[in-house]
């Protein structure tokens, strides 16, 4: 866990990140033109960052990959993704995923 001071520094930094990314072009206007390739990269980067964040959280248990049904986080995530693809309802996916996660840990 980070120290309290570092957490405050992080919150201040994140505030700045929100301001800069949300307003970048709204303030600068089209003084800077984005080439199409760069626009593509900007489009792919958030999804890749989220995938890179989620997959280890789901797959690793104390640092080792567990890729079978004994991993409650993996089973819950598979159910959540299936719900999303079938119904496109984010809230249902989170609810069913949490239900599966809880049931598997209790059993």
């Amino acid at each position: 866990m980070m120290s309290g001071g570092d957490i405050w520094l992080t919150i201040a930094g994140l505030t700045l990140v929100t301001i800069v990314t949300r307003n970048a072009f709204l303030v600068l206007g089209h003084k800077v033109a984005l080439p199409e390739r760069v626009q593509h990269a900007l489009r792919y980067a958030p999804a890749c960052a989220l995938a890179a964040l989620i997959v280890p959280e789901v797959v690793l248990i104390s640092g080792t990959p567990v890729l079978d049904f004994s991993n409650p986080k993996l089973v819950a995530s598979v159910i959540a993704v299936a719900t999303l693809l079938l119904t496109r309802r984010a809230v249902a996916a989170i609810a069913l995923g949490m239900l599966a996660f809880t049931l598997i840990r209790l059993l």
Partner: protein, 253 residues
């Protein structure tokens, strides 16, 4: 109800503003259930990660970017360096850079203060609703009063559904037992943001690469595996982009 301080004193202008604002807020209606539950989960997750009430309140009010907040939490828990957290949040937020370029074509003429306010308020759902209504507006019709207030309606409603629920989550999180594992709901929420981004083969290839590399590189110090994984994922997505483009060109008559 005239709401003079909000919509102004000129009755004709106020009517246009109020009508557009309410139409925007109504359009956001169906999505507000999701954003309010999301806000609640984010509020609870911040406390369950170990943030104090003051830190969590500051984060929700000032940062106001659900996916970046959720992305920061596991890194804060793992005591990653501050710059790694900020860089990760920046990458997650890069989609807003594209949004802001889009908004400029509408609202570039407004005063700096107004543009900054629209920038703070504009989150994913508000912009998506705005674009589905005004995405095809001709250049000379962009940025009129009706559009400004419609965007304020969709984004204001989103803000009002998110913040109170997030604050309730922060205040009530202490009552929820730790063994319920509610932090994991934050990961599922991130998953629910990511899956709709899987549009087109380059994006899917990039995400799969990023996920696998992140697991393989998880042991790197300072959570640097995350950054290596993002670079690998974006590179693969861009390469797939170029390959697909070349194939389509080859097939063209």
């Amino acid at each position: 109800m005239t709401w003079r301080p909000v919509f102004g004193t000129d009755p004709t202008v106020a009517a246009v503003r109020r009508e557009a604002f309410l139409r925007g807020a109504r359009a956001a209606g169906p999505a507000l259930v999701a954003t309010s539950i999301w806000g609640l989960v984010t509020g609870v997750a911040m406390i369950k990660t170990g943030l104090t009430t003051a830190q969590a309140l500051a984060m929700t009010l000032f940062v106001y970017a659900g996916s970046a907040q959720m992305a920061a939490l596991p890194l804060i828990a793992a005591d990653a360096p501050v710059w790694v957290v900020l860089l990760t949040a920046t990458v997650v937020n890069l989609r807003f850079v594209i949004f802001s370029a889009t908004l400029w074509t509408y609202f570039g003429r407004l005063s700096l203060a107004r543009r900054l306010m629209l920038g703070y308020l504009t989150a994913d759902i508000g912009l998506a609703l705005f674009m589905s209504r005004y995405g095809n507006a001709p250049d000379d019709r962009r940025g009129n009063t009706e559009q400004v207030w419609y965007l304020l309606g969709t984004c204001g409603a989103t803000w009002l559904s998110w913040q109170p629920m997030s604050i309730i989550g922060i205040l009530l999180a202490g009552l929820i037992p730790g063994q319920w594992g509610l932090e994991f709901a934050a990961i599922l929420a991130l998953l629910a943001i990511t899956v709709p981004m899987f549009q087109g083969r380059p994006a899917v290839a990039g995400c799969l690469t990023a996920g696998v590399v992140a697991v393989l590189a998880a042991a790197l110090p300072l959570k640097l595996g995350l950054l290596v994984a993002v670079i690998a994922g974006v590179s693969v997505a861009m390469a797939a982009d170029v390959l697909l483009e070349r194939n389509t060109e080859g097939r063209a008559p």
